[in-house]
């Protein structure tokens, strides 16, 4: 993981004043056995008004398939600069993705929402696979996804 870059990715988007306060947050995404090839996952954050503010992680290296992460692609216009340095491999069925990022305290309990879009080759596109508000109290709570994600949680 590249926490520094991840922080930068978000900070440049958020332009928060007084950014000194940050802490490591671990996101754990476990996929179910959906019976297809590796899933592309986009983890990104919107603000209280639903406006895209930045990406946390992109699982899946081929940008030509990013159009299938429909909401993320609409929000960013497919700009790969949004996930530059925070891109990893796609996640196989039944596997888990665990990423740890240094995130600003100001992201929590401030109306921000974390989204995961998912897509699998020759199967359904699943934007908004997971939608969870980022709150300190929500940490550790497990939520299911709609189609491919068996469970998702963040710990800090």
């Amino acid at each position: 993981m590249k926490p520094l870059l991840a922080t930068l990715a978000l900070t440049t988007a958020l332009t928060l004043p007084g950014l000194a306060m940050a802490r490591p947050v671990t996101f754990t995404t476990t996929l179910n056995n959906y019976g297809g090839d590796g899933a592309y996952l986009a983890l990104y954050v919107t603000d209280a008004s639903g406006t895209y503010v930045g990406s946390l992680w992109m699982a899946g290296g081929k940008s030509k398939y990013y159009t299938h992460l429909t909401d993320w692609h609409r929000a960013t216009g497919g700009d790969t600069g949004q996930v530059n340095g925070i891109t990893g491999a796609s996640v196989g069925a039944g596997r888990s993705l665990e990423i740890t990022l240094d995130l600003a305290d100001a992201l929590f309990d401030a109306g921000y929402t974390l989204h995961i879009d998912a897509a699998v080759e020759d199967m359904r596109d699943s934007p908004n696979e997971v939608t969870v508000p980022l709150t300190a109290s929500g940490a550790g709570a497990t939520v299911p996804g709609r189609r491919y994600i068996a469970s998702f949680k963040y710990d800090m």
Binding site: G35, G36, D37, G50, G61, K62, S63, K64, T67, T70, H73, R74, G77, G78, A89, D122, M123, R124, D125, N128, R146, R147
Partner: protein, 735 residues
């Protein structure tokens, strides 16, 4: 150069290319199967109607997709549970599972990446490059072999593996070039090397904020036929700011869920269209028939791999290691080889060994390495030159003629040229003749006149060796064995003698079929499969050199039969004509596919003299289908060598032989077979105009006379013997 460009990628990438082609061929079936299985939309059905039917059946529908095969899939959520099905467009109801086929998924991953991710994708792309290089170099080799693009489909001669290899290749090469170039394009696209990404319109800033506009009244959907649909995504339930997204063959757009209005639209880019076409050409998705054809062509690749390796092995076996080869600067005799398949190197090795044993210092090298300035101590240069295809230079003689013509003046040491070839080809020893002519034009002194070796004949080679020995003032006995095939023992069962009374002993010898091993019977090797016109090699006692005779019988006849004339002082013919029933000989079979009667219905004109009647009689005996056969048979004397004279009336009565014309050369009025041919000129010309095939067997002078007579006969109808040869309608077996 081209040959090594063909050989090495072929051998190195054989496994990879085989996996690519087998998996590709298997995958080609799926688009066709999908096309057949998928319920197709009725003509004129619009997306509006289809979407309305599906929404009625599945109120939680999120996305509708149409694949290029016409299969429509819907994805929905029902009380929070995801569902998907293949849809019958007539009803909007699901009719089959939409889960991806696991076997197809496995094959796809094998085909594109060997299950190895990006590294595997690159390996498979390298395989596609190898395939492309093989296709192009192979096509160039075929063109060189058949003598130009115009002769792409010309009939082939030569060993079975080589013929099969080319026969498959010239059909499959188009598909293989298409599949490999499209594969490379797709790899480049996958690795983002091409600007063919999707153009997505910007999300509209303003939407009506309303919901619930009826699908079947949305203008854009009403104007879009289902056959153009790719994808329709529905807005999130309860989110009034969301929109419908529509993808069609023409582009992508957004529709307002409250008014049905088209909010934004972007056409496909040119690059996208090209990439999609290439995807279709490669996968057959949207072009199922083409996919099946390409898959079939890909199946030819493993067969070409096997035959290719066989050709390479045969070439290696035929090329012996030359022991004690002298450097070019120290040798007295320079021996240069122009060989394509490698068999001429074997003759070079035999000559090298014999000359070395006679105390000569000999250098052997390829003709392409011709460098007379380096031959400091050379006293003579000998060229052993095969011919490739229609008269081209063989692989190891590339550039020789250019180097020769670039010389200011010919070397001083005298030159001997020996050509290697097959008389059944129209361009027999053409390259050796070109070389000899060029040398003569340059004023290069000759050591020996040009001579030729027909079909690797050891006898021809031994005869030439004696002439060379005389020229050098040494005794030179060239005993060349071109890798003797497995021999069998044949037992004579009967003999019929001719001409004993006129002091010209000749006989038809009939041997029992040797017992074939199970392996031989399965593979058709040795005497397990042969037909009239094939050759039998007899190894006489007291000699290692086999003598070749044409077979007068087929395996089906149940015996092995040859016609032999006793030559004065002939070792082998002497032994054979002295055989009594029960005696044995050592023999092997050599196929001679260029001199088979074949299975066609076209009339045959068989022309033979003396013992040359053997294979022709075999063709007539096997002619159970009453194909019209006209036999021109030249003999010295009806009492001495009218071979098969007893059978001829019976064969004519049974319809196996249509017409018999004989010519007798000894007697009051000498009459040769070519004279007989001229006497029937009208009938012969008529037969040839109607597609008849000429087969000539006998001595060299007789064959030359026949060729002249045919040229005269054909001239009025605008044909030449050369044209007939090129069409495979004029074949010779000459000795």
């Amino acid at each position: 150069m081209i040959r090594s460009l063909h050989r090495w990628p072929g051998l190195v990438a054989l496994a990879l290319v085989t996996i690519l082609c087998l998996s590709g061929a298997a995958l080609s079936v799926f688009p066709a199967a999908e096309r057949i299985a998928a319920p197709q939309a009725e003509a004129g059905l619009t997306v509006a109607t289809l979407a309305d039917r599906i929404e009625a059946a599945y109120p939680g529908v999120e996305q509708i997709r149409r694949s290029p095969s016409g299969r429509i899939t819907a994805y929905w959520f029902d009380e929070g549970r995801p569902g998907a099905a293949v849809i019958d467009p007539a009803t909007g109801q699901g009719v089959a599972s939409a889960d991806p086929n696991q076997f197809q998924r496995w094959l796809t991953n094998l085909h594109r990446s060997l299950f190895l991710g990006d590294g595997g994708r690159i390996a498979m792309a390298v395989g596609a490059v190898a395939m492309l290089v093989l296709s192009i170099s192979g096509a160039l080799l075929v063109v060189r072999r058949v003598g130009g693009w115009r002769h792409w489909g010309a009939p082939l001669r030569g060993p079975l593996a080589g013929r099969l290899h080319v026969e498959i290749a010239r059909i499959a090469v188009i598909g293989l070039v298409l599949s490999s170039t499209t594969a490379l394009w797709m790899t480049a696209s996958t690795f983002d090397l091409l600007p063919d990404g999707g153009a997505i319109p910007a999300m509209p800033a303003e939407v009506s904020g309303e919901t619930g506009f009826a699908l079947e009244q949305m203008a854009t959907l009403l104007q879009t036929p289902v056959t153009e649909l790719r994808e329709l995504s529905f807005p999130y339930p309860g989110d009034a700011t969301d929109v419908f997204s529509l993808k069609t063959d023409r582009g992508t757009g957004y529709l307002d869920q409250g008014t049905g209005a088209l909010l934004a639209w972007a056409d496909l880019t040119g690059w996208q269209r090209v990439s999609e076409t290439i995807y279709m050409l490669h996968t057959g998705q949207g072009a199922a028939t083409l996919g099946l054809v390409l898959g079939l062509m890909a199946l030819g690749v493993p067969a070409m791999g096997v035959t290719g390796v066989l050709i390479w092995l045969a070439g290696r076996r035929g090329r012996p290691r030359i022991r004690g080869n002298q450097p070019a600067g120290r040798a007295e005799t320079i021996l240069l080889v122009g060989s394509e398949g490698g068999s001429t190197w074997g003759f070079a090795a035999t000559l090298h060994a014999a000359l070395t044993a006679a105390g000569q210092g000999v250098h052997v090298g390829p003709m392409s390495g011709f460098a007379p300035e380096r031959y400091a101590r050379a006293e003579r240069i000998i060229l052993l030159a095969a011919t490739y295809g229609d008269g081209a230079a063989p692989a190891s003689a590339k550039g020789f003629l250019d180097r020769l013509s670039a010389l200011e003046r010919a070397p001083d040491m005298p030159l001997a040229v020996l050509g290697f070839g097959d008389r059944s080809f129209p361009a027999y020893c053409a390259f050796a003749r070109d070389v000899a002519a060029a040398a003569q034009a340059k004023g290069w002194p000759a050591l020996l006149p040009l001579d030729t070796i027909d079909r690797q004949s050891p006898q021809d080679f031994a005869r030439w060796g004696r002439a060379l020995g005389e020229a050098l003032g040494i005794s030179l006995e060239l005993s060349h064995q071109p890798v003797l095939p497995k021999t069998a023992t044949l037992t004579l069962v009967s003999r019929r003698d001719y001409g004993a009374e006129v002091q010209a002993g000749a006989a038809i010898l009939r041997f029992a079929l040797p017992r074939a091993s199970l392996w031989q019977r399965l593979t058709g090797a040795g005497f397990a499969r042969f037909s009239a016109g094939d050759l039998i090699g007899i190894v006489p006692r007291g000699s290692a050199l086999p003598r070749l005779y044409s077979l007068a019988s087929a395996r089906r006849d149940g015996f092995v039969e040859i016609v032999v004339k006793k030559h004065a002082g002939g070792l082998c013919s002497g032994q054979l004509t002295a055989l009594e029933p029960g005696d044995r000989v050592t023999a092997f079979l050599r196929r001679n596919p260029g001199f088979h009667a074949g299975g066609g219905r076209a009339p045959l004109i068989l022309i033979g003299a003396g013992t040359g009647i053997g294979p022709l009689a075999g063709f007539i005996r096997s002619n159970a289908r009453r194909r019209p056969v006209h036999l021109f048979f030249g003999m010295r004397h009806a009492d001495s060598d009218f071979f098969y004279g007893e059978e001829m009336p019976g064969w004519q009565a049974e319809g196996r032989l249509t017409r018999l014309v004989t010519a007798v050369s000894r007697g009051a009025r000498p009459h040769y077979v070519q004279d007989a041919l001229r006497g029937e000129a009208t009938e012969v010309a008529r037969l040839l105009r109607n597609g008849a095939r000429v087969m000539v067997c006998g001595g060299r002078d007789m064959a030359a006379g026949v060729a002249d007579a045919l040229a005269e006969i054909l001239a009025p109808v605008g044909l030449t013997p050369a044209v007939l040869k090129a069409e495979g309608r004029y074949v010779e077996d000459v000795y």
